[in-house]
């Protein structure tokens, strides 16, 4: 399941919602946090913008790919949109599986593909007042 959220991501609640799964022996969670620097620049905050109508279909493709490659019991991904301060959670991925290898690999796959494929854009606001769309 994939969602966009314009409210702060509550990792504790998301983790609780993935449990319990009697057949799962592992939960791997990845949280992406807003960091105060990038490529040598002091970052003050970030803005995320998403093409919501296009994200769902692409995220579903990623989830289908995961289920084809690994035996996982649950997948959840939430991506923030809007303005985020340093230390906030930008993206949360949780994967449950019978064993840790599949959970680690699938979680890694989800975050990598989400970053590379979903129509989501990031703008860095720098400490000196400038800003820049990443990748543009």
């Amino acid at each position: 399941m994939f969602e966009l959220s314009d409210k702060p991501i509550d990792g504790t609640a998301l983790r609780a919602a993935m449990m319990p799964v009697p057949s799962a022996g592992a939960l791997v969670v990845f949280e992406g946090w807003v960091r105060d620097h990038n490529e040598g620049q002091a970052v003050g905050s970030l803005s995320y913008e998403a093409a919501a109508a296009l994200c769902g279909a692409e995220a579903n493709k990623i989830i289908v790919e995961v289920r084809q490659r690994w035996d996982v019991t649950g997948i959840r991904c939430v991506h923030r949109v809007g303005h985020l301060r340093i230390g906030e959670v930008a993206v949360w991925v949780g994967v449950t599986s019978g064993h840790r290898d599949a959970a680690f690999a699938a979680c890694r796959y989800v975050i990598d593909e989400v970053k590379a494929r979903l129509p989501i854009w990031k703008k860095e606001h720098y400490a000196d007042g400038r800003d820049r769309w990443i990748g543009a």
Binding site: A51, L54, P119, W121, W133, I134, G135, A136
Partner: protein, 274 residues
């Protein structure tokens, strides 16, 4: 007194459109795909009209069709197949890739038709040779065409030249200009002022530069890349088209995707989630 045979219409849509890269019968200059537009144009002057299709092809848009009984010989296969289906009719044969063809041109052909000749056609404005794909073929030519096909002589232009067709001057020099390449399609759309309405969504840098997140635009652009070029001039976009992807009606497609009226277009700058 001998009455002239009734004229049926035949619109050729069985081509493979190899050079165009997509079905020429589906291209659009106004509010209808070309197969439908040509069908309606021809049907105005004919008692019955058919789409000429390959054996493996369903006639598009639910229109009546005649399937080829001879395969892979191009338009000549469609013409002899039409005569096989209705041997006593004359056939107004028209290609589906003639965007400049008008009712006036067809009326000129019909009104100057000589049913005593094997065919009536226009003389090309460029080389003086017969134009075989906007021509009336009389029932009297059917046997000659079948004989030629049996000898592997499948060029309808040569058939008209050698079989004493009546040749008329074209009232409009470019009336039979055909469209084979995407570039020619774009030029034809521009020349015809073919416009359509599309909804365009902008994100990130494009949204900031356009100062809006969505707009309706009336455009003559035929592809997503061309629409972006037009919008770049309007909004001052600085992002090179090579950096973009595009979604049309929710599906990611190539920038050379041909747009249709009513499409919902989202330009996707390089993404950076996470």
């Amino acid at each position: 007194m001998i009455t002239a045979p009734d004229v049926f219409g035949l619109v050729l849509v069985g081509g493979h459109s190899t050079r165009m890269g997509r079905d020429k019968a589906a291209l659009q200059y106004g509010d209808k795909p070309q197969a439908v537009a040509a069908f309606e144009l021809v049907a105005r002057g004919c008692s019955r009209t058919f789409l000429s299709c390959r054996r493996d092809q369903s006639p598009p848009h639910g229109l009546p069709g005649i399937h080829d009984v001879v395969d892979n010989i191009g338009p000549m296969g469609g013409i002899v197949s039409a005569f096989a289906a209705h041997p006593d009719k004359a056939w107004l044969v028209v290609a589906c890739d003639l965007p400049f063809l008008t009712e006036a041109t067809l009326r000129a052909l019909m009104s100057r038709r000589d049913p005593a000749r094997p065919a009536t056609a226009f003389r090309s404005a460029y080389d003086g040779k017969p134009e075989p794909l906007c021509a009336i073929y009389e029932p009297s030519i059917a046997d000659r065409l079948r004989e030629r096909v049996a000898r592997d002589e499948v060029c309808p232009r040569r058939a008209l030249a050698e079989l004493n067709a009546l040749l008329l001057d074209l009232p409009d020099r470019r009336a039979l200009d055909n469209v084979n390449h995407p570039g020619e399609y774009e030029e034809a759309r521009k020349a015809l002022g073919a416009t359509m309405k599309v909804t365009v969504h902008y994100y990130a840098m494009l949204r900031e530069q356009a100062r809006r997140d969505v707009e309706q635009r009336e455009t003559t652009a035929s592809t997503a890349a061309e629409l972006y070029a037009d919008l770049s001039r309007l909004h001052g976009f600085t992002m090179p088209v090579a950096n973009l992807r595009v979604a049309v009606n929710g599906a990611i497609v190539g920038m050379d995707a041909v747009l249709r009226d009513g499409d919902d277009v989202t330009f996707i700058p390089p993404v950076a989630g996470g």
